[in-house]
C-alpha cells in the first residue's frame, strides 16, 4: 500500500504542483485548505506525513503544529512545514514546537521530494 501524505495548503497552484510531484513519486496525496479543522482532519486521515503551510485561512500552521504535538497517538508523525514569510523567528518557533523539517518558499521540487522520503523513512525506522 502506498504511503499517504496530507497536504494542508490554501494556494491552488502550489497544491497542484506538490500533488503532481508526489503522485509521480508514488505517494497517495490528500489535500485540505482550511486551518480551522486541520487538526481533526489529520487525526482522521492518519497520514504518514503532513505538509503544513504556515499561513492558512482560519488558523495558523504554527498553532496547528502545536496541537498536533499534543496528541499522543500522533507521536512521531513527521511534519514538513512550508512558509512564504521567510523570517528566521518563524523557523525558531516552529523548531521549538517540534517541526520535523522547515522549508521556505519557493522551494526546489527535488528538495521537497527528498525531504518527504527521508522523513517518512526515519519515522518508519524508529
Amino acid at each position: 500500500m502506498s504511503r499517504r501524505v496530507l497536504l494542508i495548503e490554501d494556494e491552488p497552484n502550489i497544491i497542484e504542483a506538490i500533488r503532481f510531484l508526489l503522485t509521480r513519486d508514488g505517494w497517495n496525496v490528500n489535500t485540505h485548505s482550511d486551518g480551522t479543522d486541520a487538526v481533526k482532519v489529520v487525526q482522521e486521515a492518519k497520514p504518514d506525513l503532513v505538509i503544513l503551510d504556515m499561513m492558512l485561512p482560519g488558523r495558523s500552521g504554527m498553532d496547528i503544529l502545536r496541537d498536533l504535538r499534543e496528541i499522543v497517538e500522533l507521536a512521531g508523525l513527521p511534519v514538513l512545514m512550508l512558509t512564504a514569510r521567510g523570517q528566521s523567528r518563524d523557523r525558531d518557533m516552529a523548531e521549538k514546537a517540534g517541526v520535523s523539517r522547515f522549508m521556505t518558499k519557493p522551494f526546489s521540487n527535488t528538495e521537497v521530494l527528498t525531504a518527504v522520503r527521508d522523513l517518512v523513512a526515519q519515522a518508519s525506522r524508529s
Binding site: I14, E16, A17, A84, R85, K105, F107
Partner: protein, 891 residues
C-alpha cells in the same frame, strides 16, 4: 359708642389676619415662590417698624407738648437714609458676608469674637429696649382704656389686656420668628406681616389727618390759622436739643436691635437699600404730615387735661366717628405689635446666641461628642428668651405705672441704644479700633446713661434724693442731671452730650493705647475692607455653624470633592445622617492632621482653633504659620519646577519609544506580508518551471496548463510590484498629481468600462447619469483608479446571485460625494475597520489581489483632499468617496 367687645373682636380678627399673612408668606417662601416677598417695597415697609406706637400716638402728643421738635425723630433716620446709605450698605454687606445674626453678634465678631463684648451689648440692648417694649404695651392699654372709658363696666378687662397682648405677641414671635435656626434664613412671614402693618398704620394716620383737616377744621387754610393760634406755633426751637435728638434718632435707627434685624438680617438684596433710601424718608414724611394739625386741633377741641398722646383716637371718638377711631386704633395697634414682635425676635436671638448658648456649651464640654441636638436647644432658648423679654416688658410696665409720656420713654431708650454707635461706626471704618476700646467706650457711655437718664427717669426712689441734689458721694460734679457741674441743660441733651462724648473718647483713647490681637486685626481688616473681599472668608459666628465653617475652610484647602468625601466619611463614622459631622474632638484631630498635610501643622492648628476653639491666634502662631508657609512655598515651587521638567522629558521619551516600537512593528509586519505575497507566486512559478524542465513525459495539454499557471503567476507578481511601487510613491508624497477640469459622469463612464472589460463575472451597474453631471477639478486619472478599484472589488466579492452595483453622486457643500453600494452580503462589522489596511483580506478565498487596492484608494483620496470610507448599514458592501469639487494638491 363702640363697645369694647366689638373692639376686641376687631382686634382679634386683625391678629388672625396677621397670622394668616405670615403663614402664607412663610409657605410661599418655603416653596421658593418668594420673589415678590423680596421686593424693595416690602423691605422699605419693613423698615417702618421704626415708627412704633410712639410715633403713631406719641408724635401728636410730642407736638402738643413741644411743638415742632417731634420732627427730629423723623429727621434722624431721613438723614441716615439719604446721607449715609453707603454706610448702611457696608453694614448690610458685612452682615451678609459674615452671617451676622444681631448687632451684638456684629460687634463681637468685629472685635475678635469677644464674648464679653457680645454679652455687654446684649445686656445693654435688653435694658435699653425693655422700656420701649413696655411703651408699646402701655400704648395698647391706653388706647383700650379710651374705648373702655366710653363703655362703662369694662374697666376690669383693661387691666388684663397687657398680659393678653404680650402673650399673643410672644406666640406670634415664637411661631414665625423661631421657625428656622439659621438667622440668615429670612423670616418672610414676619416681614410680610409687619409690611402689612406698616400700610395699616400709615393709612390710619392719614385717614385721621384728612378727617381732622377737612372735616373737623374745615380745610387747609382754617387749619393753618388754628395752628398759628395754638401754642404749637409759639414753641421755641432749642438748637441743642434739636441737634441732640436728631442725632439720637439717627443713631438709634442704625443701632436699635430691631432695626438691625429688618435692615441687615432680613435684607435679601443690597440693592433694596437704594429704593429704601428715598422711599423710607417718603414714608416718614407721610407719617409726619398731619401730626401738627391733629395736635393743634386736639389741643383746641379736647377738654383741658386730656392726654395729647391719644388725640389720634379721642378726636374721632369725640366727633362720633367710631369707625375711624377703630381704624386709628388698629393703626396704633399695628405700630405697637410690629415693633414688639421684631424687637423680641432680635433680642431673643442676641440673648440666646450670646448668653444662653455659650453658657450651655461650656457646661456641655464633657459630653461634647454626644451633643447631637444643638439646634433644638438653640430654638428652645430663643423661644424662652422671647417669653422672658415679654415678661420683662410687662414687668417694667407694671413697675413704671404706665404714667410717663410716651415720647420721653422712647428717648431714654434711644439714648441707651445710641451708646453702641461709636463702637459700631469705629468698627466699620477704623482698623485701629480694638476690643478693649469698644468695651471701655460702651461701659463709660452705658454707665453715664444709666446714672444720668435711665435711673432718674424710672421715677423716684431708685436714685436717692440726696444724690440727685448733691451728687454721688456728695460730689457736686456727679449730680445725675448736672455732670461736671454743668447745669441748666435738658436731661436728654445733657445725657447724650456727656455719655456719647465720653463714650467716644474712651473708645478712641483705649483703642489707640491697646494692641489688638491677631483675630481682631483679621476681622478688623475684613470689616473695614468688606467691599474688597466680601466674597472672602465668612465669619465664624454662632456655635451651630461650626461644622459648616470647617467644611468651607476644608474645601478651600483640600478641594471641594475631597473635602466633601472626608466630611461624609466622618459623618458616617459618627452615625450622622447627612453631610456634616459633629465637631467632636476626634473628628477635629483627624481633620487637623489631614489639613496639616496640605498647609502645615501650625497653620492647620491655628485655622481649626480659630473656628472651633474661639481661641485667638497668638502672634507666635502667626509667625510659625508665616515661616512654614514661606518654606513650603519655596520647596514646593522648586519641586514643582523639577518634577514638571522630569515628567515632560519622560512623556516625550515614552512617546518617542511608542512611536518607534509601532514603526518597527509596522515595518516587520509589512515586510513579512510583502515577502509572503512575493514568494507565493514565485513558488508556483519555480515548481511548475521545474516540472516542465524535468518531466519529459508530459502531454501537450499538461504542458500548456502549467505554462499558463506560470504566466498567470508572473502577471500576479507584476501587479503586486506595481501596486507596491504605487503605494510607496503615494505614501512618500512624491506623487505628482495631474489636476484638470472634468465631470464626475465622464470619470465614472471611463471607470466602469475599464473595470468591466475582460471581467469574468457579471455586474449590473445602476446609475442616475443626470445627477452625475457634476463639474470638478481634480486628478481625474487617479480618481478613475479609485473608482475602477471599487467596481472591481464589487465584481470580485459581491456574492449575490445577480450582482448589482448602485452608484449615486451628489454635491454636499464644496464636496462631491459618490456612493457605490452592491447587493451582496457586505463586510462583517468586525472587519470593516481594517479593510483599508495594507494586505487586509476579508474573505477566506483568494481573489487574485494582494490586498493593497483599498489602501491605495485611501492614499489617493487623501492626496486629492478627500477620503474614502466604508458605508456601514447598507444592504451590501458600500463605499463612499468624498472629494472637493475644486481640489488643491495636498501634502
Amino acid at each position: 359708642m363702640a363697645s369694647l367687645n366689638l373692639l376686641l373682636s376687631v382686634c382679634f380678627c386683625y391678629v388672625i389676619l396677621l397670622f394668616l399673612v405670615a403663614f402664607v408668606a412663610d409657605r410661599l417662601a418655603a416653596r421658593g415662590r418668594s420673589t415678590w416677598l423680596r421686593s424693595p417695597l416690602i423691605y422699605t415697609l419693613s423698615l417702618s417698624i421704626y415708627c412704633t406706637a410712639w410715633t403713631f400716638y406719641g408724635a401728636v402728643g410730642y407736638a402738643a407738648r413741644s411743638g415742632l421738635e417731634f420732627v427730629t425723630i423723623y429727621l434722624g433716620p431721613t438723614l441716615v437714609m439719604i446721607g449715609w446709605w453707603w454706610g448702611l450698605r457696608k453694614l448690610v454687606r458685612i452682615g451678609r458676608s459674615h452671617r451676622v445674626t444681631s448687632i451684638a453678634d456684629l460687634l463681637s465678631s468685629r472685635y475678635g469674637k469677644s464674648n464679653t463684648l457680645a454679652i455687654g451689648v446684649t445686656i445693654l440692648a435688653v435694658i435699653g429696649v425693655t422700656p420701649y417694649i413696655s411703651l408699646q404695651l402701655q400704648s395698647i392699654t391706653l388706647s383700650f382704656s379710651i374705648f373702655a372709658d366710653a363703655d362703662p363696666g369694662s374697666d376690669d378687662r383693661v387691666g388684663a389686656t397687657v398680659i393678653w397682648v404680650a402673650a399673643g405677641l410672644a406666640v406670634f414671635a415664637i411661631l414665625f420668628g423661631t421657625r428656622n435656626l439659621d438667622a440668615n434664613e429670612r423670616h418672610h412671614g414676619v416681614v410680610m406681616a409687619i409690611a402689612i402693618e406698616a400700610v395699616v398704620k400709615l393709612v390710619a394716620l392719614l385717614a385721621v389727618g384728612v378727617f381732622v383737616v377737612w372735616q373737623v377744621s374745615g380745610g387747609i387754610e382754617a387749619t393753618m390759622a388754628r395752628i398759628d393760634a395754638s401754642e404749637i406755633g409759639r414753641w421755641q426751637v432749642d438748637g441743642g436739643r434739636w441737634a441732640s435728638i436728631t442725632f439720637l434718632a439717627a443713631a438709634a435707627f442704625v443701632c436699635l436691635p430691631r432695626m438691625f434685624q429688618v435692615m441687615v438680617v432680613e435684607n435679601d438684596d443690597e440693592r433694596h437699600l437704594r429704593t429704601a433710601a428715598w422711599a423710607f424718608p417718603l414714608y416718614l414724611l407721610l407719617m409726619s404730615l398731619f401730626v401738627v394739625p391733629i395736635a393743634a386741633i386736639g389741643l383746641e377741641l379736647m377738654p383741658a387735661g386730656s392726654n395729647p398722646d391719644l388725640f389720634v383716637l379721642t378726636i374721632p371718638l369725640s366727633q362720633g366717628r367710631e369707625g375711624l377711631a377703630m381704624l386709628s386704633f388698629l393703626g396704633g395697634f399695628s405700630s405697637a405689635t410690629s415693633m414688639v414682635i421684631v424687637a423680641a425676635m432680635a433680642l431673643s436671638t442676641m440673648v440666646s446666641n450670646q448668653i444662653v448658648m455659650p453658657i450651655w456649651l461650656s457646661s456641655q464640654t464633657q459630653q461634647a461628642s454626644q451633643s447631637g441636638d444643638v439646634r433644638k436647644i438653640v430654638l428652645l432658648s430663643r423661644r424662652i428668651s422671647i417669653g422672658a423679654i415679654m415678661v420683662l416688658g410687662v414687668a417694667y410696665y407694671e413697675m413704671s405705672g404706665g404714667g410717663a409720656a410716651l415720647a420721653s420713654i422712647g428717648l431714654i431708650s434711644f439714648a441707651g441704644i445710641a451708646q453702641i454707635l461709636p463702637a459700631l461706626v469705629g468698627g466699620l471704618f477704623w482698623r485701629g479700633a480694638t476690643r478693649l476700646g469698644a468695651i471701655a467706650g460702651l461701659s463709660v457711655g452705658f454707665g453715664i446713661w444709666m446714672f444720668s437718664l435711665l435711673l432718674p427717669g424710672l421715677g423716684s426712689g431708685l436714685i436717692p434724693q440726696h444724690v440727685m441734689e448733691q451728687g454721688l458721694f456728695g460730689i457736686a460734679a456727679l449730680r445725675p442731671h448736672a455732670l461736671f457741674s454743668i447745669t441748666g441743660m435738658d436731661p436728654i441733651e445733657h445725657c447724650v452730650l456727656w455719655s456719647l462724648t465720653l463714650n467716644t473718647l474712651a473708645f478712641f483713647i483705649v483703642s489707640v493705647a491697646s494692641f489688638p490681637n491677631p483675630v481682631e486685626r483679621l476681622q478688623g481688616a475684613q470689616f473695614v475692607n468688606v467691599f474688597e473681599h466680601s466674597a472672602g472668608p465668612r465669619g465664624w459666628t454662632g456655635s451651630v455653624a461650626q461644622s459648616e465653617d470647617l467644611m468651607v475652610m476644608t474645601q478651600r484647602i483640600l478641594g471641594t470633592q475631597d473635602a466633601r468625601d472626608l466630611f461624609q466619611r466622618e459623618a458616617a463614622l459618627q452615625g450622622e445622617y447627612g453631610q456634616l459631622p459633629e465637631p467632636t474632638p476626634e473628628f477635629l484631630e483627624r481633620l487637623e492632621r489631614q489639613l496639616a498635610g496640605s498647609v502645615g501643622a501650625a497653620t492647620a492648628h491655628a485655622m481649626i482653633g480659630q473656628i472651633v476653639g474661639g481661641s485667638s491666634v497668638s502672634v507666635q502662631d502667626l509667625l510659625a504659620v508665616a515661616d512654614e508657609s514661606a518654606q513650603m512655598l519655596e520647596y514646593s515651587s522648586q519641586l514643582e519646577a523639577q518634577s514638571e521638567e522630569l515628567s515632560r522629558t519622560a512623556r516625550k521619551l515614552r512617546e518617542a519609544n511608542e512611536k518607534l516600537t509601532q514603526i518597527s512593528l509596522q515595518k516587520d509586519t509589512f515586510l513579512s506580508q510583502v515577502s509572503h505575497e512575493l514568494r507565493t507566486p514565485m513558488t508556483s512559478i519555480r515548481a511548475f518551471s521545474e516540472i516542465l524542465r524535468d518531466a519529459s513525459d508530459l502531454d501537450e495539454a499538461d504542458k500548456r496548463k502549467y505554462a499558463t499557471i506560470i504566466h498567470d503567476e508572473a502577471l500576479r507578481l507584476t501587479r503586486l510590484l506595481n501596486d507596491l511601487l504605487d503605494l510607496s510613491v503615494l505614501e512618500s508624497g512624491q506623487v505628482s498629481l495631474n489636476m484638470r477640469p472634468g465631470n464626475v459622469k465622464d470619470v465614472l463612464d471611463h471607470s466602469i468600462v475599464s473595470a468591466l472589460a475582460g471581467a469574468d463575472g457579471s455586474l449590473d451597474v445602476i446609475r442616475d447619469e443626470a445627477s452625475e453631471r457634476i463639474p470638478l477639478y481634480s486628478d481625474l486619472d487617479r480618481l478613475a483608479q479609485v473608482f475602477i478599484n471599487l467596481i472591481t472589488n464589487a465584481l470580485k466579492y459581491c456574492d449575490a446571485g445577480q450582482p448589482q452595483l448602485r452608484i449615486t453622486a451628489r454635491t454636499a457643500g464644496d464636496n462631491v460625494v459618490v456612493d457605490m453600494v452592491d447587493n451582496g452580503s457586505g463586510i462583517p462589522t468586525e472587519a470593516q475597520a481594517m479593510v483599508f489596511e495594507k494586505f487586509a483580506r476579508v474573505s477566506a478565498e483568494k481573489a487574485g489581489g494582494a490586498g493593497l487596492g483599498l489602501a491605495i484608494c485611501r492614499e489617493i483620496m487623501q492626496r486629492l483632499g478627500g477620503d474614502v470610507v466604508y458605508l456601514a448599514g447598507q444592504s451590501g458592501a458600500g463605499f463612499r468617496v468624498t472629494l472637493p469639487t475644486k481640489g488643491e494638491i495636498k501634502g
